[in-house]
Symmetry: C2
Subunit: 217 residues, 2 copies
């Protein structure tokens, strides 16, 4: 298909697609004449992922390029490509090291040990997700909110159930490439689903515990 | 305590505290002389919450003011104050209405009915969290990713477990005021904990399913 058709099919403007081409987020089409390129289904699929990352996940262009590069790295096996791609997804700012950070590292280490998450203990301790967790626990510690191993454990158990649901969704896709794309896109796109469902459930649970007509009144 | 002591105890600069006073995020101290105000424990506690909202949760100043106002609204009962405060927490941008939005609204309605979340069905359908969920499902729908009721149900079940953990943490605080403050702060501060644990658990689960030495190899 031509650029105009790709724009129509993807719901993106031609200017946006040209920008993604310039930024190396979308591979070039095949030139059929000196000025006209032909695009195919793989371009449409890639645009879907780029849009999920940039427009929905607010991933900076440089990080998106890194994620996409990991997806295409033929030197890595499927699991490593998946890990690297999700690894490159951005995370929050990190905090300066102090006593709270040391305490948080100890807590997170003890938590992972209790959960038996060996992969992370062995390889993932410097991953962005691990550092994001240490930063979050550091902040809780500094502000004096509950953040002991037993406070965090229920959140980790919920996190594991979510990961099982995530991987079940991802395994519905047959080709490894589609699985990789889905892993990155669904990690980002399901974050607001999860956070909003948590807040809605909080209102339900709060109403059950404190609301008019609750058992305690 | 004087401003300098409040700054030391809170870990914030005097300039930041003065800014929070000007922006009505912190109630004024009691003036003991024309130029010197005296602050107490309640100011320190309030600063902790303001810092959680603004510096960690990246809540805009105007929204933070709205959250704090809800916490102090004596005309509301405890459950309503809690709801209003969390309600005022910011959420993502909303998407323009189209066929996908209608489809998403139907899906979310069916999901809540299946879960038996009656409070939300009755009162919360226009809450920010509900709209955030509709927006997220709309995006999944537009991009062609799985977002049927049975795809979302496991995330809602995890959301409910999280809410139970949240309320358990909140109920550890004895006074209603501290509970309200903790509800707002922990909602914001546990978001990165949850999202990072999900990503770490994804790596664990992915390694279990696809990694070297996994059952499938």
């Amino acid at each position: 298909m031509k650029l105009a058709e790709l724009a129509r099919a993807s719901g993106l403007s031609r200017a946006t697609i040209k920008y993604y081409l310039r930024e190396d987020l979308l591979p070039p089409g095949e030139y059929v004449t000196a000025t006209q390129a032909e695009y195919d289904e793989s371009h449409l699929q890639r645009l879907r992922l780029v849009r999920a990352l940039i427009q929905v996940g607010r991933v900076p262009v440089a990080s998106a390029r890194e994620v996409l590069r990991a997806l295409e790295d033929e030197s890595l096996d499927h699991n490593s490509r998946l890990g690297t791609a999700v690894w490159a997804l951005p995370h929050g700012p990190e905090s300066a090291e102090d006593g709270s950070t040391l305490e948080a590292r100890r807590t997170v280490g003890a938590l992972l040990e209790r959960l038996g998450w060996e992969h992370t203990q062995g390889y993932g301790e410097e991953s962005p997700a691990y550092r994001m967790l240490v930063t979050a626990v550091t902040t809780l510690h500094r502000l004096g909110y509950p953040c002991a191993v037993e406070d965090l454990a229920p959140y980790a158990r919920a996190g594991h159930q979510l990961a099982v649901s995530d991987l079940d969704l991802i395994e519905r896709y047959e080709s490894p490439d589609r699985q990789l794309e889905a892993a990155v896109a669904l990690t980002v796109l399901y974050e607001p689903v999860l956070l909003s469902l948590r807040r809605i459930a909080q209102a339900e649970e709060s109403n059950r515990r404190f609301g008019q007509g609750s058992a305690r009144e």
